[in-house]
């Protein structure tokens, strides 16, 4: 199955994009529902309608993010002068690892339904740990695919700098 997918680039791309959006909905449904719960204070909405609004919101944001990922990866590759990497394939891999991130983080967020005790600590630590794992895995895969021992140190430095900047920005500053 996996080998067949590897031979069919277009099918892989479509399936990974669908999985990306689905994983994002799974990841963000709690936040979207909390936001949608604001609406009944203004207008009368049933529970079903509120849930629908939350899911549609997550779907729209997830789809927008799906189209944003290739732009971000292109920007990253251009800014770091990594011109020997196939862009579309690299974006596909980025989609795949973002999907893994959303799925695992979404699963960990389910803990909040059982107990609120990890709401703050979990809200900081879970994304950090999962994103670190995903980035290491992503680096390992892409460095084996597109880089050699000479170019790999430069690629590692670029990935590390981008990761630390993002981690400080999203985990500490924001």
């Amino acid at each position: 199955m996996f080998n067949k997918l590897r031979q069919n680039y277009k099918l892989s791309d479509v399936l990974i994009r669908i999985a990306f959006v689905a994983a994002y909905i799974f990841y963000s449904w709690q936040e979207c529902l909390a936001a949608a719960n604001l609406i009944p204070t203004q207008v009368s909405l049933s529970v079903g309608a509120t849930v629908s609004v939350a899911l549609i919101t997550a779907l729209v944001i997830g789809t927008a993010l799906m189209f944003l990922v290739p732009f971000v990866t292109n920007l990253f590759l251009n800014a770091s002068h990594l011109h020997n990497v196939p862009r579309a394939e690299y974006a596909l891999l980025a989609h795949a690892f973002c999907t893994i991130y959303f799925a695992v983080c979404g699963a960990l967020r389910l803990i909040n339904l059982v107990t609120p005790l990890l709401l703050v600590w979990g809200g900081v630590i879970f994304p950090f740990v999962v994103s670190l794992g995903c980035v290491i895995w992503f680096y390992h895969v892409t460095s084996q695919l597109y880089f050699n021992d000479v170019t790999r140190p430069f690629y590692f430095r670029v990935v590390a700098i981008v990761y630390f900047v993002c981690a400080v920005l999203f985990g500490v500053v924001l």
Partner: protein, 409 residues
């Protein structure tokens, strides 16, 4: 005979005058002649009526007049409920808004006190949100006034401007001089329309919660209490629930133990109030349709609060609860995880730098397998040490390394 009739007439007149003076009720400023202590239903009806008029009035002068009536009505009923002329309005004003908190009290010889609060401002009539809360407070006044004595003062405060952002209660807390003297604050908000009746005390079980729950069979504890204030999760553990944004929050932020009573229904989808009850449809008629037993709930809840406050262990429980409250230090709850994250990132950055050096070394020394053609693009040793000017491939004797340094004739 005529004289006798005149004497009798004079006697009757004098008796009627004496009787009127002897049996007339004393007139007070806030308890006008004819004012009577209302029962719950009539109190609620009058409060809803005044709120409806106030929120329906178009001109400011009419609004001011109705507001004055509303304040006088509350003061009058509060005075009658506690049996003393002690109710007072406390004016407050911010940059854009002003209002009146109405306070009455049952005094003791102690310096300690308990505050029972419910906001009286509303959207429309505000039957559920929050005339019923004020009604519970009113019934609790009657309950406690009937007790012989209490070991602490009880302040009853009808807050204004809750709907505009807890302005009345925030102002009240700002005016408090000694937070440590306040044993606890009980807040009553939207207690009638929801399916369940909840009490929130803290984000974990406290002695105060246990005491309150021991007085009722129907009350349900919702332990994830005061957390969110203006969208900021101050206590670090609370769910993002809008019900938490009520008049208890400024008290809890000041370190005073709180107990919040409210109704609704919790599920995995979050907190559900009746949507009608937060709009102009929040009328007594609709409330009676949604929860026909709302008067019984008001009565039961006032009994629970009264029984809690008159419990002999209440003071000890309230003092113990102060020590059980979750640390609301923003650094601890909000920033400590972030500081840990930052520290971890610094350690990781050092590790990444060391790993980068290792990779660099590996690349420079060429220990690893190198795929790049460019790396192999170096002069052939055989060609360097070939002295006959011919390519090494053409010299059959020069293929061995031993031959390189052999001088040929």
């Amino acid at each position: 005979m005529k004289k006798l009739l005149l004497v009798l007439l004079a006697l009757c007149l004098s008796l009627s005058v004496v009787g009127t003076v002897a049996f007339a009720e004393p007139e007070t400023e806030s308890s006008p002649v004819g004012a009577e202590l209302l029962d719950t239903e009539n109190f609620l009806s009058r409060l809803c009526e005044l709120n409806g008029q106030l929120n329906g009035a178009s001109s400011q002068s009419v609004k001011n007049e109705i507001k004055e009536n509303l304040i006088n009505f509350l003061k009058e009923q509060f005075n009658l409920a506690v049996g003393e002329d002690v109710a007072e309005e406390k004016y407050f004003a911010s940059d854009t808004i002003s209002g009146y908190n109405i306070q009455t009290k049952i005094e003791s010889s102690s310096e300690q006190c308990v505050i029972i609060g419910a906001h009286y401002d509303a959207v429309g009539e505000g039957a559920n949100d929050n005339a019923c809360g004020v009604a519970v407070m009113f019934e609790t006044m009657k309950y406690l006034a009937a007790q012989s004595s209490l070991p602490f003062d009880v302040y009853f405060v009808a807050f204004d401007c809750e709907e505009q952002g807890l302005i009345g209660s925030q102002h009240y807390v700002n005016e408090l001089t000694a937070y440590s003297d306040v044993l606890a604050m009980f807040n009553l908000d939207s207690i009638a329309a929801g399916k369940n009746l909840y009490v929130m005390c803290e984000n974990k079980r406290t002695d105060l919660a246990d005491l309150i729950l021991s007085k009722s069979e129907t009350l349900v504890e919702k332990p994830y209490a005061a957390g969110v204030y203006n969208g900021y999760d101050t206590f670090g553990y609370g769910y993002d629930e809008f019900v938490q944004g009520s008049d208890h929050t400024p008290f809890r932020l000041a370190g005073i133990p709180v107990a919040v009573f409210f109704s609704g229904e919790y599920s995995l989808l979050g907190y559900e109030e009746n949507a009608e009850m937060n709009t102009s449809a929040d009328t007594q008629e609709n409330l009676a349709r949604i929860n026909p037993d709302y008067l019984a709930r008001i009565s039961d809840l006032s009994d629970v609060i009264g029984a809690t406050l008159t419990d002999e262990n209440f003071v000890a429980v309230a003092q113990a609860t102060r020590g059980q409250m979750i640390n609301n230090n923003a650094v601890y709850n909000r920033w400590w995880p972030v500081i840990v994250l930052l520290g971890t990132l610094i350690i990781l950055a050092v590790c990444a730098w060391l790993y980068s050096r290792k990779l660099q070394k590996k690349a420079l020394l060429g220990h690893a397998e190198v795929k790049s053609q460019k790396v192999f693009d170096k002069p052939n040793a055989e060609d360097i040490f070939s002295f006959d000017g011919k390519p090494s491939s053409e010299n059959k004797d020069s293929s061995d390394a031993d031959d390189i340094f052999t001088f040929k004739n």
